[in-house]
């Protein structure tokens, strides 16, 4: 669970009495299997209940001692496949992040009992988020990959798996981590590369729609219903121009498009709009043509998405004054949470901050849903619009995973050790703990959406259902928009941001011209990286 979400889920809802209730329920759950003589499944339930009680919801932030306890309690799967001391003398290097003092620091705690049991030793390379991409790219480009296990985002698979730098997952690992439990979008083809499995998923990612409940309803300024399509989003944004925000008394605003770049990440937000128009249910591709790598970013669907933004720019008062200089961080944290604007798409953090952040004023009036859809969808195969409802939630960034590099491929003992460590971190039970407590990771398994477990652990059920519900709906959507995991994908996003900035500032005459400029820049990048290899890798990432 992201740190802010944890604070949100526990803030204000946990009285001493309620915590005792939770503790009692947990103790009951833990005791049940033994009393009633259930088998292995019940024993697993017992472990799940036990780890959810470490350190206890509302009992302060977990510490290294707690992480080690969780690591110890979830070691059963390792013990089933590895003999005690089997990896004595083996040293592994693990590269990952140290964001929010979690990630690698958390893994250290989880893996300490694993190290003690197996006899292996892990050396750590901790990186700040900003240093991650350059460090990884330079290691790859200069042939100096110096790590056996890596925590990596799925978009980088093109750079690593695409170059044969990763080791394929052995079958025993698949069984140990119970991969069938993954939410739909993380299964093949997204969970695989060119038909092979490399990633142990430890995180899920998607954008969801956050809106202000006080803007919508009978007699409300935004309309009777919460917008379900981007057409309605734009109509509502225009309808509230000149109105007063019911909460703050300041001018009312509709949807908050970030109009400034954000190191490539800002492009996800245009994607949110475009996916509804461009991601046809019958076609897995929506950013490039998989046969030619010809960009689709200047097809009518994308142009419509850009045009929607330009329409709001051209409507005086539709955006706050300085919107041209607002990046996604600004729209979420300086605007939406501070009571400016009524609609937003973002990752999960925004809902939690709504309730915990000191600068948030919208905690009681915020609601969640999946990203808006569209009344029409563009079919790239026929080159025509289809007048049918379409929705396509954006799985922006796809989430973190643990991978093993091919440095260990030649040494069977070392390979088994690396995969065993990775499997321990990606285990089903340990993942319940990372989903429920501050870890930097979001839920990603179907078993994470058993609300009873959360409630028994002491969580506020209404909050958890609201927050988890919008994520679950997006994850399991049959027409989810999946980004291409090709090398340099953030280069494409970054250059698109530069061109969009020019388009939004009126330096291009139309949405089409802006989109054409992006397409031309994308073609250049494709040619530079290598068109044939990009086509092959794009197809591989789509499972074609």
């Amino acid at each position: 669970m992201k740190v802010e979400l944890y604070k949100a889920a526990t803030a204000g809802v946990l009285s001493r009495r309620r915590m005792l209730q939770g503790a009692t329920a947990l103790a009951g759950l833990a005791a049940m299997p033994r009393v009633m003589g259930y088998g292995a499944a019940a024993a697993q339930d017992s472990v799940r209940a036990q780890i959810l009680a470490i350190p206890g919801v509302g009992a302060g932030s977990p510490t290294d001692a707690d992480w080690q306890k969780v690591g110890e309690l979830t070691l059963a799967a390792t013990k089933a496949s590895v003999a005690e001391g089997e990896f004595a003398g083996i040293e592994l290097t693990f590269l990952g992040l140290n964001n929010q003092n979690l990630h690698n620091l958390l893994f250290r705690g989880f893996l300490k009992p694993w190290e003690a049991y197996t006899g292996a030793k892990i050396n750590w390379i901790d990186l700040a988020q900003a240093d991650y991409n350059p460090r990884l790219q330079q290691a790859i480009a200069t042939g100096t990959v110096d790590f056996d296990i890596i925590e990596m985002g799925a978009p980088f698979e093109g750079d690593t798996a695409g170059r044969g730098l990763l080791d394929e997952m052995p079958d025993w690992v698949k069984a140990q981590i119970e991969m069938d439990d993954y939410v739909n979008y993380l299964k093949a083809p997204v969970g695989t590369w060119d038909g092979k499995t490399y990633r142990i998923t430890i995180d899920g990612d998607c954008h969801t729609f956050a809106y202000r409940k006080d803007y919508f309803g009978e007699g409300a300024i935004g309309g009777a219903e919460v917008p379900k399509t981007w057409q309605q989003v734009n109509a509502a944004s225009k309808a509230v121009v000149g109105q007063t925000d019911p909460l703050t008394g300041l001018p009312a605003f509709g949807y908050l498009d970030p109009l400034k770049g954000w190191g490539g990440f800002g492009f996800y937000f245009l994607e949110n709009r475009a996916a509804a128009y461009a991601k046809h249910p019958a076609d897995p591709a929506w950013l490039f043509d998989p046969e030619t790598m010809k960009p689709r970013v200047n097809n009518p669907a994308w142009v419509q998405a850009i045009q929607d933004v330009m329409d709001l720019i051209a409507t005086p008062g539709a955006y706050p004054a300085d919107q041209i200089n607002a990046d996604p961080g600004t729209t979420a944290f300086s605007q939406f949470l501070a009571g400016t604007g009524s609609m937003l798409t973002w990752w999960g953090d925004v809902g939690s901050n709504a309730r915990t952040s000191d600068s948030s004023v919208v905690g009681d009036v915020v609601g969640f849903g999946i990203n808006p859809g569209s009344d029409k969808v563009y079919n790239s195969q026929t080159g025509a619009w289809e007048e049918t409802y379409n929705e396509s939630p954006n799985m922006a960034y796809l989430g973190w995973g643990i991978y093993v590099t091919n440095r260990v491929s030649g040494d069977e003992a070392k390979r088994k050790a690396a995969w065993s460590a990775a499997a321990h971190l990606g285990g089903k039970d340990i993942s319940l703990w990372t989903a429920a407590y501050p870890s930097g990771f979001q839920p990603y398994r179907n078993s994470h959406f058993q609300y009873d477990e959360w409630e028994a652990a002491g969580y506020d059920r209404a909050f958890v259902e609201d927050y988890l519900g919008s994520n679950a709906d997006s994850y399991n959507h049959p027409n989810a928009a999946i980004e291409p995991r090709i090398p340099g994908i953030f280069q494409y996003y970054s250059v698109a941001e530069d061109e969009l900035a020019k388009g939004y500032a009126g330096q291009y005459t139309s949405a089409q011209e802006t989109a054409d400029a992006i397409a031309a820049a994308w073609e250049k990048i494709t040619d530079q990286i290598g068109r044939d290899s990009q086509i092959a890798l794009y197809k591989a990432s789509l499972g074609m």
Partner: protein, 368 residues
């Protein structure tokens, strides 16, 4: 000790045996030959024509270090006392060459390469393609044009800095306090300035400066909304940080002017303005020129505020060459093209600064 030769500078006159000299030459040339051989072997390995088991360039580096040591040692063997004197300079010179000339050469190689870190084929020499791409790149030219505007703003900054320096040089109350107070912005990190001022104080809804603007009658204050206002705001934020730097240099110059000169002018009947214009300002020209030139160098590197506050927007209006190179190099991993842009910018800076210094030299000479 000899009674002939350079008696003034030579303390001892060595009688170096021919064998020692030969040995000195042998180790210098021998180690050079080893270095050349290792480098050739390495090149063959890299180009795939032979395999010597050299996985990295370290063997060549070690051979270079060995040659450098032999070169230094050889100086003493061959030249004796003279050689020892050479040792005072030679290691430092080799060190500087290693850390500047070699990286510059490697940088040039990269600059004329097609090298996108995501490309599976790695670095490829592509001749003048990067230069041609630069020539047709509207983002780069836009950034260069912006730099001209940013640099021109220095004239105004200089005038303000001069005024503040004059004020602080005068007999005013709490002079020491003001000197420290005026210096504070310079001590702040530009990134902190970006967040404190650009993101917080200028926040259009709640920022105190936006509220002030509203109170003064600006209905919908937006400090980064239109191209020219955004550019001006960036100029102001940068000026706020760096005016104290120019001020402190000018103040030091003012304090170095002998008081007698101003007093003499006063006795001759010069009023305050004439005193400033005919005495103080000309005397301050060398300091002023130095301050302005250093400030130009700082200004040409302007990037941090832009990256943090506007990312070059709206529509490239506040973009600087450095912030554009940052995006090209870091966000887009376009190492070859990014390096070329930086190299060209370096050459442009060197040419412009050289011209400016020549001009400044000519400008200051007749009056000093």
């Amino acid at each position: 000790m000899s009674s002939s030769g350079d008696l003034l500078h030579v303390v001892t006159n060595d009688n170096i045996p021919a064998g020692r000299k030969a040995f000195g030459r042998a180790i210098i040339w021998g180690s050079a030959a080893v270095m050349a051989a290792v480098a050739v072997a390495q090149t063959l390995q890299v180009s795939g024509q032979a395999a010597f088991g050299f996985e990295t360039w370290r063997p060549t580096l070690y051979a270079y270090v060995a040659w450098a040591i032999c070169l230094c040692w050889g100086q003493v063997l061959i030249n004796g006392e003279h050689g020892k004197r050479t040792l005072f300079v030679l290691p430092a010179a080799l060190f500087v060459i290693s850390l500047t000339v070699f990286p510059l050469l490697f940088g040039l190689i990269i600059a004329f390469s097609d090298w996108n870190l995501s490309s599976p084929t790695g670095r490829k020499f592509n001749g003048l393609d990067n230069l041609r791409q630069m020539w047709a790149d509207p983002f780069y030219w836009n950034a260069l044009l912006n730099m001209v505007w940013y640099v021109l703003a220095i004239i105004v900054e200089y005038a303000i800095a001069f005024g503040l320096a004059l004020a602080l040089n005068a007999e005013i109350r709490a002079r020491k306090f003001f000197r420290v107070a005026f210096l504070l912005p310079l001590m702040l990190s530009p990134v902190a300035v970006s967040w404190m001022i650009g993101k917080s104080m200028l926040e259009p809804r709640f920022g105190p400066l936006a509220r002030l603007a509203r109170a003064l009658g600006w209905d919908d204050p937006s400090f980064f909304g239109s191209p020219w206002i955004a550019k001006l705001t960036i100029m102001l934020m940068d000026a706020w940080t760096f005016i104290p730097f120019m001020m402190i240099m000018i103040l030091a110059g003012l304090q170095a002017i002998p008081k007698e000169l101003n007093e003499a002018a006063k006795v001759d009947g010069a009023n305050g303005w004439r005193n400033f214009w005919e005495v103080t300002f000309p005397l301050m020209l060398p300091v002023s020129i130095t301050a302005i030139l250093i400030r130009i160098i700082f200004k040409l590197k302007l990037a941090d505020i832009v990256i943090a506050v506007t990312s070059g927007g709206p529509g490239g209006a506040t973009d600087t060459v450095t912030s554009f190179i940052f995006r090209e190099y870091r966000d887009r991993s376009n190492v070859g093209y990014g390096t070329l842009l930086a190299m060209v910018y370096l050459v442009v800076i060197i040419i412009v600064m050289t011209l400016l210094m020549k001009l400044a030299d000519r400008f200051t000479r007749p009056r000093t």
